[in-house]
Symmetry: C2
Subunit: 329 residues, 2 copies
């Protein structure tokens, strides 16, 4: 509980000298440095970050906004962010917005009020106008989800290309009747993944059927189950399903198995995200892997650069199709 004054007194020097020792400045005589270090040890002194932050006007805390902490999609990204942040001497404040503006605002306030230096937003439902306004005065990076014309730098993958590849894979293994389990197209990724789906079908002259394109309200397990129930009611049933998220696909797997539909023999399934759990299902899930850890690391690095006043550009990373049991008998 000692402060810098007491350390200075104990060491018989001024606070300025103590501060110099703390900040490893070289213009301190060796024996003075030793005296100060001993005083620090004796008093069990820890410099207050509040005092320092107030003076230097940086808190070295980064905010990470996600809609739901329970969504496993974010796990690796967060790990990437955290690793990179710690390397740069920053800490992260993980914030669950629950897709509610009032909770977003709590966290935006933390930045406005100087308690945090910048934001990595991964919330697709974020109030984009607020975000753009914030970005005028504060460092912000969007990760995974982004908006094209906001001027806010982002780190993401080419969703359209990734979806195209996933659907093309289904076509190559012989499927023609392919359903898309999508979510609300107000989300850019949903829109882009649908485009990829359509362009793959177009390329092979497979007609687009409206009844094969389903929309779910959320990305949960139950939504995937519900979508399959709807699909199984169709007269002309598809032989493959491309779901825009692993959780949807896993819900689909479960519902198919409950209905005695064999995967992949009766119905092939492809997911998106390669969450950990996608390897624990029976059968294991074919899915699109995003370089999540890398995305997180890059997002953090860029944010820190932005905080330091550098100009940063958006990045589009590569993805990878991981073929597993749900598409290979």
């Amino acid at each position: 509980m000692a402060n810098i004054q007491q350390v200075a007194m104990q060491a018989g020097v001024s606070v300025a000298t103590v501060s110099r020792v703390l900040n490893k400045q070289k213009s301190v005589a060796a024996n003075t440095r030793i005296k100060v270090e001993e005083a620090i040890k004796q008093l069990n002194y820890e410099p207050s970050l509040l005092g320092r932050s107030l003076r230097t006007s940086e808190s070295r805390i980064l905010l990470v906004l996600i809609p739901k902490i329970s969504n496993p999609f974010y796990l690796d990204i967060i790990q990437g962010i955290e690793t990179s942040a710690l390397d740069h001497g920053y800490n992260i404040l993980l914030c669950e917005t629950d897709s509610k503006p009032e909770r977003e605002n709590i966290y935006f306030d933390l930045v406005k009020k100087k308690m945090a230096d910048g934001i990595i937003s991964m919330d697709p439902t974020v109030n984009i106008d607020t975000l753009i306004k914030m970005a005028e005065n504060h460092a912000i990076i969007q990760c995974s989800e982004y908006s094209n014309d906001s001027g806010i730098p982002y780190v993401t993958i080419d969703n359209e290309q990734a979806a195209y590849r996933a659907v093309k894979h289904l076509i190559m293994i012989g499927h023609q009747k392919i359903a898309l389990v999508n979510t609300d197209e107000k989300f850019l990724y949903a829109n882009q993944r649908k485009k990829g789906y359509i362009s793959a079908l177009n390329e092979y002259n497979i007609p687009i059927r409206d009844e094969y394109i389903l929309y779910t309200r959320e990305l949960g397990f139950e939504n995937g189950q519900q979508a399959i129930r709807n699909i199984l009611r169709l007269e002309n049933q598809p032989t493959a399903v491309f779901a825009v998220s692993d959780m949807l696909a896993i819900g689909a797997l479960k519902e198919l198995s409950s209905n005695g539909v064999h995967v992949p023999n009766d119905m092939a399934v492809v997911g998106f995200d390669k969450i950990d759990f996608s390897n624990m299902t029976n059968p294991t899930l074919t899915t699109v892997a995003q370089p999540m850890r890398e995305m997180g690391e890059i997002a953090a690095t860029k944010l820190i650069a932005k905080i330091k006043g550098e100009k940063v550009e958006s990045v589009i990373l590569n993805h990878e199709l991981v073929i597993r049991e749900s598409t290979s008998g």
Copy 2:
């Protein structure tokens, strides 16, 4: 970017008056208050938390320590903590320790250096000596995992009783040969759950067989698979498995199904924790539900009370056995 001085100047009052308005003190004349509020609006002023925290020596930030963010067990607890914290005007800093002391120390430092007001530790591998030493000067609560003689208040369930009930359930539906998939007994919960397992068997005069008690190194899916592989190699195979964690149990389910062992007909399985995924498996998993959200809320409330200098006591909450498909044909 305005500060309180500029607001005071703009409103034609002193900083003290502005501060009074900010803190909603009543001894401000109505029209003065209006002048100040207008100045605040005009300058787009946001009070700096750093200045405030430095002066009041409280940051209103709580640290939550967990070993792995990817462990779904913690999700609801965190939600509970966060809800309760926000209600009290606190924010939480979610910290993944990765069970590494050097990462723990980074976060402990944050408290020592006044950037955070207290800690909720959920890390069973936490360096307990460091924690006890920290607890002398700082507010700390243990949640879920705890140590008996540390003097640090905790919020948890009666693990022994819960395990006892789970195993008793298996006995009641006719099982006599029950395996325990446990983890390292250095963890208090592992120790306690084993006690519950033993006391249930004892109560029904079922002999304890060493080969039915397995230990895994971690609580992951693969560890559960591995344990089942070992069990299937036994000459005299058990007919039921009690795993001390859902992830272990889910790994077990998968491995059993891969080996053509039907659950629950050939082998019943019980897990522990009632993580979300436990309802998404095929068959769904019988498990012990901890009141996780409540645990989190109580932990946060107690921590805040502790920060305010009140004396707080430990709490043991109720659990519940959730019977699902993996134990009911």
